[in-house]
Symmetry: C2
Subunit: 581 residues, 2 copies
């Protein structure tokens, strides 16, 4: 090794030792007789001291060191007179006896500091420099810790990790596939997996009753802030189980990760049905770090002559505690906010519970003081509270109210990133009807089984059928989801019919799976977690990009290696493809 120690480990215990450190020059300060160099590696920072009186030649050489030079430095550990309690190595410094420049460095295009002066575009182009920043290093270290803790936990529970193929078959259902032309099979293509769904089901049929995999998945979608063309899943599947077993097994995984990675003991996760989540939180991924539940007001407000409420499918409100002091301006702003197209409400009604006990609302014309008081009682509103009410079509109004709830939570500082409130959302609808194409789509995927007692509704009322499906939500983010699968060939056939697959489509796309079901498929189910997202939540980050070593930008480009790129005509010819301009 070119070093005896790292830059993060020397303490007062090592005083007097001769050591050899390697690392990067973080900064250097020239203080007349002394030159200080902060040497950085993955493990920390150690202060090197060059003394003009003791060794002027060395000191002068040291003054030539630029930022990010890589050096190997030899010296004696000494107690600092001026200790730095913020640094683990802050009690010591190294009195230098010699050093060697292992590599020089050009001046980096941005500062290697937590608060860097580099914009995102520049940092992505020089991602290898960006990754030198503590904050990014810690993100990747957290990701590694999550991965190894996950694997060991799953292994301890008897799961085995099995690698499924990356070169698979394109299926038009779901998002767009990335495809790979086959040279050996002209005019044919592989596809990259959007998930190993069918393979993990085949592994259950193969008898591997507890499978997991941390696996790269791919989706050729138009990218948003929180999407990447390649991402990682914790993919899991079990046989001979019920939904209850899945929820328990993976709740325990989550608790284990909270403990190991965040040092947090989390109690049992609440479970809430999709219907109730929509009703109380206006979201299928409720953030339950705070209450502010939605209440339906239809019975209280209808028939009093206020047309907006009378004609609405749903009148729903929430109590923004302590917001009675909101000014006219603030209320107008909030009204504008809910009317933005992303939220889509037509307006906002408020009922203010003044400190003196009086009530004031924007609908005083239609509602008596006692009408308003009844509404306030629904929310347990106290003097000082502000009830906000939306009205409109049921589904869109639920969602708008859910967004308003989150916005008020943000404004009131109720969403502490250090607080974690996981929960299960269960009993999702099995199907979604799409008006445009006039057909049902699988809410989850076509292999999701219905709740047994709802199977009878499949023909008569498909929209009402609940799925044996579940999501794990943490702080308003869907971390994972899964379902108990259909293991019966007949039921699977019926599902394909309801999803408007022709017999031929189903056969061509999933024929091998349907054949496999004929050879003793066990009852099975599973779950997949968005590993990037989970890391992001645990790391207190905003974007999954910050938890990937080499992410792509919104155009799917890696600006560092400059890809995608043109390929040679020889390559195109070998692959039997031609470009269309």
């Amino acid at each position: 090794m070119l070093r005896t120690h790292t830059c993060g480990e020397l303490t007062i215990q090592n005083a007097g030792q001769e050591v050899n450190l390697c690392g990067w020059v973080q900064r250097s300060r020239d203080m007349g007789g002394l030159t200080f160099v902060d040497l950085r590696d993955r493990y920390g920072i150690t202060q090197l001291v060059f003394n003009m009186e003791v060794n002027p030649v060395l000191c002068l050489e040291a003054r030539k060191l630029g930022r990010e030079f890589v050096i190997s430095a030899k010296g004696l550990v000494a107690e600092r007179s001026n200790k730095n309690p913020k640094l683990p190595t802050g009690e010591i410094e190294i009195n230098m006896t010699s050093f060697e420049i292992l590599n020089a460095s050009k001046i980096p295009p941005f500062t290697i500091e937590d608060n860097t002066d580099g914009g995102e575009e520049l940092r992505m182009k020089y991602r290898y420099l960006d990754l030198r920043r503590n904050i990014n290093r810690k993100n990747l270290e957290l990701r590694h810790k999550m991965a190894i803790a996950t694997r060991n936990y799953m292994n301890d529970q008897g799961f085995i990790e099995i690698e499924t193929p990356v070169l698979i078959k394109s299926t038009p259902e779901g998002a767009r596939d990335f495809v790979v032309p086959s040279r050996m099979n002209p005019n044919q293509f592989y596809a990259l997996p959007q998930s190993p769904q069918t393979f993990k089901q085949l592994l259950m049929i193969a008898g591997f009753d507890r499978y997991f995999q941390l696996v790269k998945c791919f989706r050729d979608e138009d990218l948003r802030a929180d999407r990447q063309p390649e991402f990682t899943q914790i993919d899991c599947e079990m046989s001979f189980i019920t939904q209850e077993d899945i929820l328990n097994t993976f709740e325990n995984l989550a608790k284990h990760l909270f403990k190991v990675v965040k040092d947090l003991e989390i109690g049992n996760f609440p479970r809430i049905s999709y219907d109730l989540a929509m009703q109380e939180y206006g979201s299928d991924k409720p953030d339950i770090r705070f209450g502010m539940k939605l209440f339906e007001l239809n019975d209280l407000v209808k028939g009093k002559g206020f047309k907006v409420f009378d004609e609405a499918g749903l009148v729903v409100g929430l109590n923004a505690e302590g917001c009675a002091e909101y000014t006219r301006k603030q209320l107008d702003d909030l009204t504008e906010w809910v009317k933005r197209p992303q939220i889509g409400a037509s307006g906002l009604v408020y009922i203010r519970c003044n400190m003196d006990g009086t009530v004031k609302s924007s609908v005083d014309k239609f509602y008596s003081s006692s009408d308003l008081t009844s509404i306030l009682e629904t929310f347990n509103a106290k003097p000082g509270d502000l009830v906000l009410v939306l009205a409109g079509k049921k589904e869109s109004t639920q969602k708008a109210a859910g967004e308003l709830r989150l916005e008020m939570g943000r404004r009131l500082g109720l969403m502490d990133p250090a607080v974690f409130k996981p929960l299960w959302v269960i009993n999702f609808p099995l199907l979604e009807f799409d008006e445009e194409t006039n057909r049902y789509y699988a809410k989850h995927h076509p292999f999701t089984s219905p709740v047994p007692e709802d199977i009878q509704l499949l023909e008569s009322n498909p929209g009402a059928v609940r799925a044996n499906a579940y999501d794990l939500v943490i702080n308003g983010v869907e971390i994972g989801g899964g379902s108990i699968r259909i293991h019966n060939k007949e039921l699977q056939k019926k599902m394909f019919q309801i999803l408007s697959f022709t017999e031929e489509d189903a056969q061509e796309q999933f024929g091998f799976l349907m054949t496999a079901f004929e050879y003793g498929a066990p009852p099975h189910g599973g779950i997949a977690f968005g590993f990037d997202r989970w890391c992001t939540i645990f790391g207190g980050g905003e974007s999954i990009r910050d938890f990937m070593a080499f992410p792509k930008n919104n155009s799917g480009r890696d600006v560092m290696i400059d890809t995608p790129a043109k390929i040679s005509t020889v390559q195109l010819k070998e692959l039997n493809i031609k470009l269309v301009n």
Copy 2:
């Protein structure tokens, strides 16, 4: 859970307990009053007993169970009268009280037994049934065990696993890339990585001084038995190290895996230079489970009038101990064997050391008895031994002799798959000259550094420059290889020149890496192991396919899911490509 126990865990200790098992019907035997069903799951086999006298209805139902039916079975654990010591559960059986068919099965197309009647093609089409066979299940379990042991060991050594991207950039150097058309960047392509080589070097520049990854890699090559279009590497890189540190670190990983996976204590691995390996074993991946070293005979045989030897660049032999009794026919067969195009020798000379001390050779005409005795002494040949000699051009004759050595090792039973003899081969040549294109190619890859003392030869005699490169070989199989990298931009530029890269080529393909080298690249090096191969060696298997869940055939096809396949014209259009017929 639908079961209380697995089919592998019940013993005499459980006698009297009521249990619930789930699994597949391996076989059933109808013995008049009793019906026995062997129930199988991933963990083992348990015998279920149905008694016609006790419960005739249940027994008659059980008789209808076909092979591979999936059932849930309830009963009481009882001691067997007729114990089966070969089975962990062989002391007990379950007296059945009820069962439920969870899923029926068609008759499988081949028997689910270690010695199956199914051919490879059929088994691959029904791979999910093939994987039910013990032998395949054990292979994947071994692979999982290897992976988790590797990860924990690397983690314990301070390495962090970092995921590098799968959608990268095509580089013409090396094998053919698989490419992925980009929809968002028309007429541009991603490539799938042949290895994360450049990314791991960038991670070193980023300061992650100990990186590893178990990672899928891709090569669009014409497939042979031991090649797959996608395969897995244990990819590793370290900074601030010398070759010695790499060899020690990864020798310890290998020893750890031998211990954990094979329960074997392996001593220190021998190290041998490439030149010596070629000289003594005729191979850069010698199988040292047996001796039978090659000896050069040029000095002993030249100038005696035997033209074949006189004109040869190399005359080289080996001692096949105890083979003096080989018949004329056997020697003729062996001569034919070495003359096959795969071996390419022009003939075979033998010198037989008879049991009575006399010597007989196929070149008695040219060599006196004392000439021959001198040769035999070179090999320490004893009465009963047979020395075999090849002659020709140096390099091809070394290789042919190496192949002959392996063949004799096989014939003499010297290659016990339960014996493991790892070693390091070091000091590879840096460059290989290709006569056809009249240029040098990197033997390893263009980032491999020369042995420091040979740098001066780079201009004058590139072919003589040794690389700071090493391979780990186990039982004649190259398990891994790596090198200390060039971290100096000037040296890297010179390498590209020697490899006939134009400035533009180098810039276009590796520009970002060369730029990165300007910002403080630390000295670094690494290694990559063929994970599939390592599993295959440890599992005593023949082909890496048997250690992959869903391998492809020699045409790169997955015959189970029938891919590669056609994609829709909509997809082609979105990707701006057209098929060429």
